[in-house]
């Protein structure tokens, strides 16, 4: 008879107080067998060029701007429209009032792509800290443009790396979707951080004590594994100084963040063998109720995808993480980048 319990550490249920949700930690889960053939990581076609490469600009949807602004064939970053957008800049904005019946509004919004390098095979972590900083500043610039549109409430910046993290294009890029609504997970985060502020008079991220969860520090940022990480080896990078909006970042801080982000991506890639991952910028809505200014604090999340999710997560919003955050932090601290 097989044993129903495996030794090691017992499962634990932890509260993610930033998002107000529960995460189940269970090291035993990582030992379960699978009778499906090993999920081979789908590799990109062997092609060396794609529409995002220098010289293929005409295959893309219209450009919004490039970096440097006056470059021709020697651009470093391009921000372009998404050719297959989830929302459309050509529709009229309709105010999504809350009705009792079925509510549908036009899919107005902006969906852009940030091409992070002109070269097909270059990854974000291959860039120098200053170059990663330039990508971050290109996102900041585009967010500031979108902010001038009154009906846009929130901009989500996200990067999909690897097919099982959702990527359809392998050329290094990020995306931005600007929405006329505040999405549900963002509302939950704002409310939960506000609740902490009401109870303590402090911002929950200013107040964080990483201790054994700390991975590394730079002049203006710290990186850590969050106490109730949703994903195994998840990493957050948090500005030391209180700031609600990512677009408040300046050039000096962007380069500093570029260095720490590069270090985290390299450590993760080395330790976990270049896993698929998402990189997410968690910021605040534009027309923030000013009462949220003291309680919301932007941060970056790196979410590696070491295993898929199943019906339990979809039904409940509770994730199962087989790796305790303090163990993940220790492993990531100890990865040496030569």
């Amino acid at each position: 008879m097989a044993e129903a319990e495996t030794p090691n550490r017992s499962p634990e249920i932890r509260k993610d107080k930033i998002h107000n949700r529960w995460v189940l930690f269970s090291p035993a889960r990582s030992r379960r067998p699978s009778d499906f053939k090993a999920k081979s990581n789908p590799q990109p076609n062997n092609q060396t060029e794609c529409p995002f490469c220098a010289g293929h600009e005409h295959e893309c949807a219209p450009e919004i701007f490039r970096v440097p602004a006056d470059s021709t064939n020697d651009w470093k970053i391009r921000v372009i429209q998404n050719l297959y957008p989830a929302v459309s800049r050509e529709l009229d904005f309709q105010n999504p009032v809350s009705l009792v019946g079925d509510v549908a509004v036009s899919g107005f919004g902006f969906h852009d792509v940030v091409i992070e390098s002109p070269v097909h095979s270059v990854n974000l972590s291959d860039l120098s800290p200053a170059q990663v900083g330039e990508v971050l500043l290109a996102c900041k610039k585009r967010i500031e443009q979108l902010r001038s549109c009154d009906s846009i409430k929130y901009v989500q910046v996200f990067k999909n790396h690897g097919a099982s993290a959702g990527a359809s294009m392998s050329h290094s890029h990020s995306q931005m979707i600007a929405l006329p609504i505040v999405p549900p997970t963002v509302s939950a985060r704002l409310d939960s951080m506000m609740e902490y502020y009401k109870q303590t008079g402090k911002c929950s991220l200013c107040d964080i004590q990483p201790n054994e969860l700390l991975i590394a520090e730079s002049d203006h940022f710290i990186s850590l594994v969050p106490f109730a990480a949703t994903f195994a080896f998840e990493i957050w990078i948090i500005p030391r100084d209180h700031s609600s909006h990512f677009h408040e970042i300046d050039s000096e801080k962007a380069v500093d963040l570029g260095g720490l982000l590069k270090l985290m991506l390299l450590k993760m890639s080395l330790q976990l063998n270049n896993p698929p991952f998402n990189l997410l910028i968690h910021t605040s809505p534009f027309q923030d109720d000013p009462s949220y200014a003291h309680s919301t604090h932007w941060f970056l999340q790196i979410a590696p995808h070491l295993s898929g999710v199943g019906g339990f997560e979809i039904a409940t919003g509770c994730y199962i993480n087989p790796v305790f955050p303090e163990d993940a932090a220790k492993i990531l601290r100890d990865v040496r980048i030569s």
Copy 2:
């Protein structure tokens, strides 16, 4: 120059009023290219036997009960402990009080597996309506047992079919996780349905008018594509009569539901070529605040996984669905099962 907009229907943003979240509908998304090699559906090893098969009972974690109760080698359904549980029945319950600081409690709970057939290659949709009904009644019986444990607040029943829906075992089975907390998505659903009730005096699912979203009907249930479906070709099966808890189902209704569920699984499988999917039972917590009795209504969700999710969904909780629900409903209505 490629066009930034494709013709067809414009994108739309719809509110899922049951879960209080937004979904983006964008048919243009379905035409985007991918430079990753086609995701071949990982197939199970060619094995014909596994620990869930008849004759292999000794390779499994302990049995809780079998159907029929007095069967030996000729059992039809077995409910067993999960050998690699996400929560543990051997820990002490700790009350997850809401503190300001980091909250962690023991991972107490029950994690069981429902083996739906003794035969390795039989799918749920291969069973007769009465047999599917028996699987549903086995879930009901186990939920009623778990209900006697005071510290259990909620039981999630879920099925993962296919590797990209999370399945690690290919032998047909479902799982149940009984938790000492009410999970976040469940709380959001209860609150949202309560809000509808407060505004209208009616239960939001009793009040549903499926019209062009209807797929089929049975004596006691209707099946439809929800107005703001999260996934392309998602299906809900809803009891006609108001009922908060799945475990209130009786034998007659279980057989009726078995027939409609089988029909939906067959239609989906035929139309979408046996896609990976999750089957979820959305019920109410045990120690329900009695004020929720009038507003909550259980239902089944079938969520096919035709494409993965990416960073946008993880960050925002907003999903992007390329298929309008009325189009999906029409296609599913028209699938003929011979």
